[in-house]
Amino acid sequence: MNQSSVNPPPVTALPKFPVPSRTKKLKDRLWRERYLFLLLMPGLLYFIVYRYIPMLGNIIAFQDFSPFRGFLNSEWVGLHHFKTIFSDPEVVRVLWNTLWLSFLQIGFAFPVPIILAIMLNEVKNERYKRIVQSIVYLPHFLSWVVVIGIVTIFLKNEGIINRILSPMLGIEPISFLQQPGWFMPLVILEVIWKEAGWGTIIFLAALSGINPSLYEAAVVDGANRWRQIWHITLPALRSTIVILFILRLGTVLDSGFEQIFLMLNPFTMDVGNVLDTYVYFKGIQNADFSFGTAVGLFKSLIGLILILAANRLAKKYGEEGVF
């Protein structure tokens, strides 16, 4: 995750050549590097066609795009779609859902891998530790369809949870998946179930770098387990936590399309529709390409600003930052 080792260089930093034989030299160099360019070409072409041309394609956010007239001939409407974004109560609600979900994620899902890593770090029996690790990493590799499939099987009215709960508490089965109130808690729990174990890897790596003599010295000084965690383990995790937090802030408007899309149904649409799914419903299903693009572009730009700002903030407070 740490990208500081590969600082993005400025675009202008092209090699300088002596003026007289400039083209000749360049030609020689390109010929010398022809095989490297051969290897580079497919990947470069991919980046240009499928990553950068679509970035330019964002101009349709300022058009009334019609697939028949194309990118260049569609009618220009300026900031019309952006004005709609801020005046449409539906967008405001979707934006609110997105931010609320991210807030809950950062509050509840973000700390779990940290706690789990510390718990694993405290286990002295290496074998037990490794078995637990193998088990908690596994859900990361399951698809969202499988995870939400499992959740559906467990939580539907005639599912195992209701079969146990309703006779026990003497209540009617609870429609967890249809009740708006359960939507966000379930989404958060799913994320924790699927990703918390995987998320520990990066923290465990940071912990493996701690010099054991620090703990020994702490024991000599009479520090109990909590004090060791507080004064040695947590400080060792600090910069990792800060970096992951910065990266997380940059994605507060991303909700994980697949998970939300698969969890949504007509009953939970009001509380669960987020920007990602909204762009899909509007832009693809209703074929309102320009408006969907405007919402998407708005989202990407905010994300860009947030990650740059968070990075600067981290540097200001003496952390390394991401780039």
Partner: protein
């Protein structure tokens, strides 16, 4: 020193171990439950509250789902996309990663192009329109080409290639090898572990892909396994998604084994992941951490 642990220290250890054990059980129980129910008869499943061990092990659900042409076809499609897709991923990622480790003309620009996608991406709709414009809609290539290179994987593989001692390059150059030969005879063999690891990561991604399939493939006959799985388990629709099996069952007057079909489908769709998991596990910690090694 360490032997002088107080009672409370030991208590913390024990509670910690128990809590971790419970967490691990929480991760495993869904698998266990779905496995057992998939082998339970539908009648027994319907009647009992909680089944941890069925009275009778039956394979009705598996027989039903494997009789469905739609399901078998979706598995075939997904295997094809996974194999071809991962190969394409790894070839494109490795070649480009190698080219930008060398001091190639414009190297910094190319590297910047990759790194910039870390913080800014074209949105869903412009990408969709380009995929459409390049004629990939309803083609399996739409599941392969638009995600051909993962920028993060590319950077990690580049770091790995950079860690190969430069003396090897120089020795090969003196022996008269060109860049292509250096790539195929030195770089590729030496980066095999990294490439295998990322090949597996890409493969898991292809196997699990759902969003691209619904975005780019409109015909039900092209459904991948995750799409059909959603129809069966989440939307509870086996009549349309497993039409051929449903017809057969109706013809022979057998009642379909209800929700146990969904459980069998989940297990069949997860089996490949479970099979490669030990290999993934061997590699991933290294793979994930490689990225953070300072170059």
């Amino acid at each position: 020193m360490i032997n002088q642990k107080s009672m409370s220290e030991r208590l913390i250890d024990i509670i910690n171990i128990i809590l971790l054990g419970l967490l691990a059980l929480m991760m495993l129980f869904p698998f266990y439950y779905i496995l057992t129910i998939s082998f339970t008869s539908y009648e027994e499943y319907k009647l009992s509250e909680l089944i941890l061990w069925p009275d009778r092990w039956v394979t009705d659900a598996y027989a039903y789902i494997l009789n469905s042409k739609e399901f078998i076809h979706s598995i075939g499609v997904t295997i094809y996309v996974t194999v071809v897709g991962s190969l394409a991923n790894i070839i494109l990622t490795a070649t480009m990663a190698y080219a930008i480790t060398r001091n190639i003309w414009g190297q910094k620009v190319f590297l910047f192009l990759v790194l910039f996608t870390f913080i800014f991406n074209a949105g869903m709709i412009p990408t969709y329109l380009i995929v459409k414009a390049t004629g990939l809609i309803n083609s399996y290539w739409a599941l392969i080409i638009p995600g051909a290179i993962n920028s993060f994987n590319l950077i990690v593989i580049r770091q790995f290639i950079l860690s190969i001692p430069n003396e090897l390059n120089e020795a090969a150059l003196i022996d008269g090898a060109n860049d292509l030969q250096i790539f195929t005879r030195i770089v590729l063999p030496l980066s095999k572990p990294a490439l295998a690891a990322f090949g597996l990561f890409y493969a898991v991604g292809h196997w699990n892909t759902y969003f691209n399939a619904i975005l780019y493939l409109n015909e039900p006959s092209k459904w991948t396994v995750q799409v059909i799985l959603r129809q069966i388990v989440i939307l509870n629709d086996t009549t349309n998604s497993l039409a051929s099996a449903a017809r057969d069952a109706a013809k022979s007057g057998i009642l379909p084994p209800g929700e146990t079909i969904g459980m069998a489908a989940i297990l069949l769709a997860t089996l490949p992941i479970l099979i490669v998991y030990p290999f993934l596990q061997k590699h991933f910690a290294k793979g994930v951490m490689l990225g953070s090694v300072k170059g």
